[in-house]
Symmetry: C2
Subunit: 120 residues, 2 copies
């Protein structure tokens, strides 16, 4: 899908491979990823449908999409039970859990600083 030769993609890859900070931000940068991460931290395992109910406003496409990316980046585990109707659970992986310290800091930085924002 993605054109690997566009200068857009080239620049992005350079930054991500050269800089751990950029990589860290990139794995958390989807519109819904932080929320998903937070719900999984609070709840342990959650089924697809439970996540959908918690993430108010998300579409099925975006939910799958964000879950797939988080899984690809190794932050979550997908546990599929071979049943019908299907039952799929998601949970933070060990790698995903190692973000906790950082994200707690970011969260408190954010709530402390968001109000200082200069309005447009």
């Amino acid at each position: 899908m993605r054109k690997q030769t566009s200068s857009n993609t080239i620049n992005k890859n350079n930054l991500e491979t050269n800089c751990g900070m950029a990589y860290a931000i990139s794995v958390l940068s989807g519109r819904w990823k932080q929320s998903i991460w937070g719900f999984l931290l609070d709840n342990g395992k959650l089924r697809y449908g439970e996540l959908k109910r918690k993430l108010i406003g998300i579409s099925e496409k975006m939910l799958i999409n964000q879950l797939k990316e988080l899984e690809k980046d190794g932050l979550i585990n997908r546990i599929a039970h071979p049943e019908v109707p299907p039952r799929v659970e998601y949970e933070l992986s060990d790698k995903g859990k190692t973000l906790e310290n950082i994200l707690v800091l970011m969260s408190s930085w954010g709530t402390k600083n968001a109000d200082n924002r200069i309005k447009t």
Copy 2:
């Protein structure tokens, strides 16, 4: 420019206003912002042209664009000297500097974890 009623924008705003974590990530999420932040941390003040030379591959439009956003979010200060030819310096604001702890953590998390990435 931006349509404030699209569900895209609504979702984005909801997440950013409800969650400090999302706000923190959003102010750092431009393609070049982390690099700009890093150079300003290392160098103190930098002129527009100096930044441009350091940010290899950036276009003038993107440089201005990212600087304007960082300024709007209060992370950097813009110091314009009334001279000809113009001289404009950028530096981290106090608010911008408060991100240092977090970004150092993120950076080391990133370099530690980027290799574990599951390739496509």
